[in-house]
Amino acid sequence: MVQLSRRQLLATAAATAAVSLAGCDGGDGEADAGDLDGNKAGAMDGFKVGDQFRATEPLTFSIMMLSNPNYPFKANWSFLAELTKRTNVSFEATAVPGSDYNQKRSVVVSAGDAPMIIPKTYHPDEEAFIAGGAILPVSDYAHLMPHYSDKVKRWNLRANLDTFSQQDGKYYLLPGLHEKPWLDYSLAMRTDILEKHSLPVPATWDEVTTTLRALRKAYPDRYPFSDRWSTPPQPGANNLIGILGTAHGTHAGWAYNSTTWDGAAGKFVLSGAMDQYRQMLRYLATLVSEKLLDPESFTQTDDNARQKFAAGKSFVISTNAQTLVSENRKDIAKIPGATVAKIPVPIGPMGATVPSESLLENGIMISKKARESKNFVAMMQFIDWLWYSDAGLMFSKWGIEGDTYTGNVEDGSFKLDPRVKWGGLNPSAPKDLQVDYGFFNGVFAYGGSTKMLNSQFSEEEKAFQAEMNKRTTREVPPPHPLSPEEREQAALWESTLKDHVFQQTLRFALGQRPLSEWDAYVAELRTKNMDQYVDLVNKAYQRFQEKK
């Protein structure tokens, strides 16, 4: 066993050397795919966009199956039976509890014992397995996947995929693809209070300040805004800081990313040292010093924040589509006449734009072993159909037409069958789409067109999404793939820098440290190897550009 993986390692090393010698084309390296003649058993000839995949002989593919606690994996799901009926493919599933999926994946893949299909992997988790040679550079095989290639082309995702590229110019993860960025997190506001004081719903962060000031004036005894989601290591009020940072053109809070692309200067800079970051802190510090934002927002538990909102002691809190319905609305039910809504994400100095990062979802790794299978081509076609074709996505999401749903998502006539419940739909129905049928499973159903995504939203959320979709998508930052050794060094620098940024963010926001000390703060970051770290990233960026 050990022998085998060592041999694999050598083979990969040799292959990588050969590739770098030959020079890299940076595209969907069809040339690197090798001879596939021996791997076509069961595959369809001339498989193209719009085709229903059906293996020419019964096939079985092994797969790592995340078992979600809310709908534990069942081998007798009608999803699996129907899948076999349509595609002639059945799964040999390794069921892994969702609680520790990543750990098992890591052991199994490293031990060279992984199933062929390894889904539910979030970039950059796949990078850990590349050096060991256990997973396949999937970009070499994109030509086997017509639906995938078509969507990448039509939805302009090439640049996004480039950010997944490694030093060899290839990527190793087949991500879920979104047509448009999907933003879910924003602020919830007590709309009845806004109406009572004739305040409009704020559209920009400046208007948010104005609204909060008016509320503070009307209720001088309380903080109008008391926030939640303050789990470390981030500085606290992580959603607020996250969307605020994005609005300012930097990365902060939940959305923290150590480096941000500075388009004007043509290089990467440390997010926490950017002028935009300082502006964001100034905004936060103002909210705190004017007593508009509860200073406990950064440290309190979610329950505390919810209690304040429920008791009418605060009127604004961070939310998403689900929390709005399941928590915020329920929490205020006791207050007569109280209403709450999720407001469109306020606009900041970056204008009405949304980041492009959310276009790619978690995805699939393919085990190196699968490449040797005589059914390899059929497997890639199968993956292409199930995860990337509209028909496959519709099937894994909503099930069987006429049985679990009627209509279609294209013209908006889609309707879940009344005997089936899902999320908040048909709550008293006898069967659950996920638990009993196995559809809408996070392992298979994600990504897809905006219309497909909208089919799962309430009218309220659809309106929110429509508003967000009016905004333009920002340009994707260029890739800067690091070598494994560089990655290790970068991780060391990054973690100390990150700690310092997070700690000081909180101090600046709370007014414990005046913003006049900003230069001193940047100097502190320098002593923690900021320049070396940023240089490393920029060198990687240039190297990638030259290769291209």
């Binding site: 066993m1 050990v2 809310n70 534990p72 969702g98 999320g423 908040g424």
Partner: protein, 293 residues
Amino acid sequence: MVTAIRPSRGYRVFQAVNAVVLTVVVVVTLFPFVNIVARSFSGEREIRTGQVSVFPRGFNVTTYQHVMSDTMFWTNYRNTVVYTVVATAISLVLTTCYAYVLSKRQLKGRGLLVGIAVFTMFFNGGLIPNYVLISALGMRNTLWAIVLPNAVSVFNLLVMKAFFESLPVELEEAAAVDGTTTYGTLWRIVLPLSKAVLATMLLFYAVSFWNSWFAGFLYMDRQELFPVTVYLRNLIAGATAGSDQTTSSDTTLQIAAGIQAVTIVLTTLPILLVYPFIQRYFVSGVMLGAVKG
């Protein structure tokens, strides 16, 4: 008139202080457990707002129903019982034999045998090599993957060895004079005198196998083979993460609030019930090994 000897003032003060301190200790140790039991039977709102202390508030058994209505829960519970019983039995036999041999000072190579055991306390093969080994031995998805790799705990082995060393050697010599074999001596003389340490080992092993989840998680690829700890761990992760945008009913909120308490009650109850029966051996057992250890 006969007057009883009155305890001195100092002694009475001591008694009073003693009673108070011990009561405090009892309350402090018991309270968390009582609180957990109370929480497991309480309503979501009461748990979230921290109203529950000693008695359940807003009595509710939804979470219990949810957990116990799943047949997989019972399958996995049965697995845990089977794994624990088999593993404990094998561990006891192996540890006893190993420890007894090591307690014999005249044994040649004794130092090496002890060294081999102690070595594993400080160094091990690591996660992935272990996984490769178990796979190659064909033990994955079998009981043996859980039972064998952890069969001998070195700590337990050393405690037991110390205990056996403390037994008077004359007893065994007398038995030998009477003509018993080595195994006869172990079985008829040594083990009956070692109930205390055996009970202790039984408890140590049983509790550790009962609570263990990692081996089951790592080596089992099918849900019907998981121990209940893996099942509950997954349940907690799902209920407390709660970010799956599809689930947002009252039931799931109730479950999310009570799941940890319910889980603790369900997993600790059986093993707690064992304690009273072996308690008396347990106390003396731990002490006995310790003196010479």
